[in-house]
């Protein structure tokens, strides 16, 4: 190359170099100039004019060292470069350069001695600012990625599109206890739960089609540690490369979230069970009420009353979060619904210690009390001014287990002669059959001349019987 660069020191070109002269002169992307051995410019092409901002007429005869930055000039870089070129036949470098207006640009330069070193050098400079900036941006991106990948709580990895890992973040190493060397390739699968490994690998096949990897699997903490559920996602770094390039992924700990989801699933199943069971109860009440109702009007009254009991009980259960329920709360709700102010006037007395009953006995007891109260309003203590109703309860035990004895005592009632057969129906069945069946309660229902008396002995767990 140097033989073709036999540029004359003087402006008159030799004829055989005319073609080359034109080439150099018209080259706009490259700054090409020659200097004397001391750096004095001797020729200056159009590319140099464009790049450095000095016209050939301005600089020829002056030192071309002005294209170096002030720092480089002060450090003697121009001279060092010339000495290097003279010694090694060429000096190449990338550095900041300076334009006439003081602005700087990044350029690669090459300084070559002319055939006769005494004649000086030829220098070719190309603006590389764009490439330099792109590289700098790339470095900054990589630094940002490294910073992000190593500071987020997720476990980050780089991988080939087939799951062969090329890098794992320090968090991965910390969490699994696997070193980078142990993790690369398919080594990382060692930390995946054996039952999840197949799905983990199969997800890569799907990922290559979808352009995104997704799997939920268990990852072992430490060599002997617990497995925790993680959600792993990965995407190609450069989707334009048709999936052939590296993928970057994260593994997020979703163990606690899954635990919550599982519990929510259980709650939902329970809710569904309760709802459907309640519907089945409604269905059976409807069907039994139909069979015992002489008319549609009678059916409507009875059925609506019973639905309202279920509704009140649901309200009480909801407030107690379906845990133990307070007997007085349950009784008050029913008596208030039927008593028409009789609670306040003293015609009804309600007495008993605080007692909690299991939630699943609430419905049956409330329905029984509803039937008793309905009867009292129609024919008994709440139908006649002289009538009185006393509802009392206390702790009591039968031979085998602790219980609560609930007494319903009507008095001062002139019972109609045929009262007992008329009310022998749904309410009677509920008290005499349903409570013993469902709650193992012992019940007794009497239609006495001065009113109805009913006793219900409900077994409770020992803890409930100890209530203050």
């Amino acid at each position: 190359m140097s033989q073709g660069l036999n540029l004359p020191v003087k402006p008159q070109p030799a004829p055989q170099d005319e073609l080359f002269e034109h080439l150099v002169e018209s080259s706009t992307d490259f700054a090409i100039y020659t200097t004397a051995h001391d750096g004095t410019a001797t020729s200056w092409n159009i590319g140099a004019e464009r790049l450095f901002g000095y016209l050939a007429t301005d600089i020829i005869g002056s030192s071309a060292d002005v294209i170096f930055t002030e720092e480089d000039q002060a450090a003697g870089e121009p001279r060092t470069e010339r000495e290097g070129a003279a010694r090694h036949g060429r000096a190449a470098n990338e550095r900041w350069h300076r334009r006439r207006d003081g602005s700087r640009f990044w350029a690669s330069g090459s300084l070559v001695p002319l055939r006769n070193p005494e004649d000086g050098f030829v220098k070719i400079v190309r603006d590389r600012t764009e490439v330099y900036r792109a590289n700098a941006a790339l470095r900054a991106n990589e630094e940002r990625f490294r910073l992000l990948a190593t500071s987020i709580p997720q476990l980050v990895f780089r991988t080939r599109p087939d799951g062969h890992r090329t890098w794992g973040s320090p968090q991965w190493i910390d969490f699994t206890g696997l070193t980078l060397e142990e993790s690369v390739g398919l080594g990382w699968l060692d930390a995946i739960h054996p039952e999840d490994r197949l799905a983990t690998q199969e997800a890569w096949e799907e990922a290559r089609e979808r352009g995104e990897y997704y799997v939920e699997h268990r990852i072992r903490r430490g060599a002997e540690g617990e497995y925790r559920w993680h959600q792993t996602r990965a995407r190609p770094v450069d989707p334009g490369r048709d999936g052939a390039g590296d993928w970057v992924g994260t593994m997020t700990d979703i163990h606690d979230l899954r635990g919550l989801q599982d519990r929510q699933g259980v709650l939902l199943a329970e809710l569904q069970h309760r709802t459907r069971n309640l519907l089945a109860v409604v269905q059976s009440i409807a069907s039994q009420t139909i069979r015992k109702s002489p008319s549609l009007t009678a059916f409507r009254n009875e059925f609506e009353g019973r639905l309202q009991v279920l509704s009140r009980v649901q309200g009480i259960l909801a407030r107690s979060d379906h845990k133990d329920i307070d007997l007085r709360t349950l009784l008050d709700a029913e008596l208030t619904a039927h008593g028409d102010g009789a609670l306040e006037t003293g015609r009804i007395t309600v007495e008993g210690p605080p007692v909690v009953l299991p939630a699943n006995s609430a419905q049956a007891i409330a329905l029984a009390v509803h039937e008793l109260a309905t009867n009292a309003v129609k024919h008994g203590a709440l139908a006649q001014d002289s009538g009185r109703l006393a509802v009392r309860w206390d702790f009591a035990a039968d031979e085998t287990r602790p219980g609560v004895l609930l007494e319903w005592n009507e008095s001062g009632v002139a019972m109609p002669e045929d009262a007992s057969p008329r009310r022998r129906g749904y309410g009677t069945e509920l008290i005499e059959r349903a409570l013993p069946y469902q709650l193992r309660a012992k019940t007794r229902l009497e239609f006495r001349p001065d009113g109805v008396r009913c006793t219900i002995l409900v077994p409770v767990r020992a803890r409930e019987a100890e209530s203050p």
Binding site: H273, R276, L279, Q283, S284, E432, R433, Y437, Q438
Partner: protein, 137 residues
Amino acid sequence: MMNEVSSSTGQEAAPPDGLRGRRLLVVEDEYMIAMELVRTLEEQGAEVFGPAGSVEDALGLLEEGLPPLDAAVLDINLRDERVYPVAEALAARGVPFVFATGYDSAAIPAPYSSAPRCEKPVDRAQLARALARIWSR
């Protein structure tokens, strides 16, 4: 008490005696639902044993030695107990069963999740079909 009111209105259109001669055990803790199930099954000609309202009662009935059963209809949640010990005892005796429950199959553990299941409130025709299916296997 049920006997005195068993006059059927006839508006439910299931085969009147599709269960004629079948011996069935009913396990259901809610009395009203149990009575309804018993009535439905008896109306279709079945001979019903139980109802049992708890695992203990159901196992007790099986221990006592019932005549050979054709099938059982089981509620799953019995006063906070699960019916599975009864299902196991039935399976050991070769008695097939149908769940009548408010639970979805997803909430039922293996191996019982694959057992026939009627959703509450139970439709009598659906229950009859489920029983017919287990007998036709």
